[in-house]
């Protein structure tokens, strides 16, 4: 029989890994909100940011920098790399494809995915690199309440904290700043935004940069948990069902969707997977997304899709 303590532990573990999915999903949502591009490359951007960070950290430490300086410089270097990437993507891929339909843009981001994956590994190496920025040991909570207590990973708490800050600052950015308002205008209508004098290529650069920085944050948290390696891009595929469940255009949707997917798949794995063969974590999120699509195609928080004839 499974006790309440174990259930809570699974639930909390699931919610915490959900936070990580949300972090990647946020990058998708940012780009989709501002340019209507469904960015398949977000996982590759996480890989690139993570590799840039971990490799520059290693190098700086061997050069004799103190750790705190190395971390600051390393993060700065990775941010610069993401900015260059954002500029290149805007300049050479998304810019020329302006006014194309969503599918073409989507396929072009598949191309971008492959370029980024190849380039990132060619420049920074393709092994698995450990990254240690946050404590990864565990806490035991409520030990007097449940036998054995509830295991809680410190890293997950850090992840949740960072995600919270990120969402709050993104919300402020979108709602309060001039660029944020311009972003929303571009998302509504490219042409109208251009005609009132919003520089669209600059806006797109800002959007991809923001997505790149979100990818960097995701990479630091994920990299600490799993090491920076190629398989990070596959984990990023988990963000797709998160988006479908939460709604493509909603930042809170990405968070809630992440929680649902994270908790749902852990609970399903533990309580259902043991009966039908295990490893259902792998597809559970997708089947959940499929179910949501059939009932509510716009997701939980998405804007209703209205089509006129």
């Amino acid at each position: 029989m499974i006790g309440l303590g174990q259930f809570l532990e699974v639930l909390i573990g699931g919610l915490m890994s959900g936070v990580l999915y949300s972090l990647v999903a946020l990058g998708f949502v940012l780009i989709f909100k501002a340019s209507g591009v469904f960015n398949f490359a977000q996982g590759a951007m996480v890989l690139l940011a993570g590799l840039a960070l971990v490799r520059s950290l290693d190098l700086l430490v061997t050069w004799g920098f103190p750790l705190w300086a190395a971390i600051i410089l390393g993060i700065g270097f990775a941010a610069v790399i993401m900015a260059i990437t954002a500029w290149l993507i805007e300049r050479f891929v998304i810019g020329p494809l302006v006014n194309q339909d969503a599918l073409t843009l989507f396929m072009s981001t598949i191309g971008v995915t492959f370029i980024l994956e190849g380039a990132a590994q060619m420049i920074f190496g393709s092994d698995a690199y450990p990254l240690r920025l946050f404590p990864t040991d565990a806490w035991f909570l409520f030990e007097n309440l449940f036998p054995g207590g509830i295991l809680l990973n410190k890293l997950d708490v850090w992840g949740g904290f960072i995600a919270g800050i990120l969402v709050a600052s993104l919300a402020i950015f979108f709602e309060r700043t001039k660029t944020g308002r311009a972003l929303r205008a571009v998302a509504d209508d490219h042409l109208a935004a251009q005609s009132v004098g919003i520089p669209i290529s600059w806006i797109w650069f800002v959007v991809w940069l923001a997505a790149g920085l979100v990818a960097l944050v995701a990479a630091t948290v994920w990299g600490t948990k799993l090491g920076v390696q190629f398989s990070i891009t596959f984990l990023a595929l988990k963000a797709l069902p998160v988006l479908i469940i939460g709604g493509l255009t909603s930042i809170p949707g990405a968070i809630v969707g992440g929680f649902i997917v994270g908790a749902g798949e852990k609970i399903a794995e533990v309580f259902l997977g043991s009966h039908i063969g295990g490893g259902i974590e792998y597809w559970f999120a997708y089947v959940l997304a499929l179910a949501v699509l059939l009932v509510r195609p716009q997701g939980l928080f998405g804007e209703r899709i209205i089509e006129r004839i």
Binding site: I110, G118, P297, E307
Partner: protein, 375 residues
Amino acid sequence: MLYREAGQFKATYAEDMAIFPIRQDRIALGILLGIAFIGVPLLVTFHIWPFASEYLLWAILLPFLILALAAIGANILVGYCGQISLGSGAFMAIGAYSAYKLGTGVHIPLVWLGFAISIPPLPVLSSILLGGLTAAVVGILFGIPSLRIKGLYLAVATLAAQFFFDWVFLRVPWFTNYAPSGSVNAPELNFFGLIVRTPIERYLLCLIFVTVFAVLAKNLVRGNLGRQWMAIRDMDIAAELIGIRPLYAKLTAFAVSSFIIGVAGALWAFVYLGSWEPLAFSIDRSLQLLFMVIIGGLGSIMGSFVGAAFILILPIMLNLIPSELGVPLSTETITHLEFIIFGSLICYLLIKEPHGFARLISIGKEKLRLWPFPY
């Protein structure tokens, strides 16, 4: 000069609507088929260059034929009907595994009903075709959401199929006949008493399949059904208004596409791999097929062949050319370069030539028709 159609008059409707209305095209195709069906086997039999070793046949021609077949299937869905699919690999797997189950005998014990469904092992040809049929049925099931959702959402739905079936074939032991390692062996390739064993026999077998299916697909997309698909792709609402049923058009596209992909999957497993595990049909395979379609040409049967050839040959070229030039690259670098080149090509083609290499070829033909006077 060589490619002028002056003097070729079309006197009947049948001539006007022929697949290859221009004589030079027919001759070129005839030569190509002649080389494929007669020339290659002759060269192989007498060990003449480039067929002195079996490398070319085994490592390039065989996978090329099978993947081209799968690319035709993917092209019908993505290129002709505009329903983007990231789950082609899953449908190949469904074709392969259901052909395997049918070829080795199906046994479903229905304990709670008190009896069992047993099908004796079927001949290879029928199990390959039935494998395709199973894939078609599953394709229809996963196509049903396409009636409510479109484009990107559908891509995620097909991705769901990919991940789900990856898991099913890995974890449900019934599909692998309880093989402890999870990898299975294809049954003997016995076609009406003819046993296909050597590479050249395998090649000819695949060639026959590909030729038949390519002709069928070409005729299908030219006909009523193909036009319905293209109308849905170009503008679904307008298509609905002129009386095309989206339900029927989309589901037939899913069915035909999955059928062809399923047959290709069965061939890939039976004829090329011989023994395989679910990894052979992972998401990488899906993306590879999608690339073939994009690079070769969306909405073109010939493009599927060109795309498949390009995607197979590029890695080999990357291996050969630098080492010939005296700058050998490490295998890792080659893999990464491959990634970068594929990615850049996709972006470049989407920007400059959305119809891929097939369109470039037809532009070339158009120019040859006028050459040497360009006006």
